[in-house]
Amino acid sequence: MATTCSINITSDIAPGLGSITKDMTLTKAGTLNDLEETTGFSRRKLAATTAVDIITMANELVEPSDNTAAKVYIRNIGDGKGSVDKSTYVTISIGDTGGTPQEVGRLYGGDWLLMPLTVVDDKDVVAAPSTDDAVVLEYIMFYE
């Protein structure tokens, strides 16, 4: 029961930069044992600039394993009908929509991220589109 992620970055910004390649197996904190829980793969369409939780930690029943080795993958796939707009974006933040979530960054059309999470309650994954145009996010979280 393994989950693996591989990244490959290639760039011609500098001749000597070459490529960055790394594989990882998602394991529980401090061990070589595989992560065993996931939210499952989700798809969510947003059509307003209002910030919304796409993952609410209090709903994931993961309190026993806060601050461990959780990871989330998110991708902006455009309008979900094949049109990907590189000029608009979804701001991804960590926190509570009722407070002031900390911005991570902007996922422009086609962009993706993979990052660790604390899964602490109120440290939700928050998404806020830059326009009212429809945009679809695909995402999945793995946790202990």
């Binding site: 029961m1 992620c5 910004i13 992560l35 608009t88 911005e103 902007r106 993979l114 660790p116």
Partner: protein, 146 residues
């Protein structure tokens, strides 16, 4: 145009049907479709246990004429922990907000808003000395006059 491509492959057999996701993105400057990110800061550094460090400074160098020029752009950040002891990890924070832990062998790839001078990417090693590889792809940084 500089061309930088970031591709990910994710596979999991946690569910009854296996998950396999692949995505590839060409890293463009903010809001454009024709101009790629054309600057990079790349490094490898050992983070010793104890203090919290700014791995990437959102206002770098502070108080200079270029301070804040990366703010709210399409910056991308790659960080990998090359420690080999599975009990080792670093904690990644942005503006003192705990993002999560990178254990030995883990990597992350995120957009970075760098929205203000406090939005640094901070790193703390809690267990042992962790060798960290990082790359910042960006569009708007020039050298400070000496």
């Amino acid at each position: 145009m500089a061309t930088t491509t970031a591709a990910v492959t994710l596979s999991s057999d946690l569910l009854s049907d296996s998950i396999s996701v692949s995505a590839s993105s060409t890293l463009m400057k903010a809001g454009t479709t024709a101009d790629g990110l054309d600057m990079v800061d790349y490094g490898v550094i050992e983070i010793v246990t104890g203090d919290q460090f700014d791995l990437l400074d959102a206002d770098n160098p502070a108080s200079s004429p270029i301070a804040g020029v990366m703010a709210n752009k399409a910056n991308k950040v790659y960080i990998a922990n090359h420690a080999t002891d599975e009990t080792y990890y670093v904690t990644i924070m942005i503006d003192a907000q705990n993002v999560g832990r990178l254990y030995a062998g883990d990597w992350m790839f995120i957009p970075w808003a760098a929205e203000d001078a406090n939005a640094d990417i901070e790193i703390t090693s809690t267990t042992g000395t962790n060798k960290i590889e990082y790359a910042l792809f960006h569009q708007g940084r020039t050298l400070n006059a000496s």
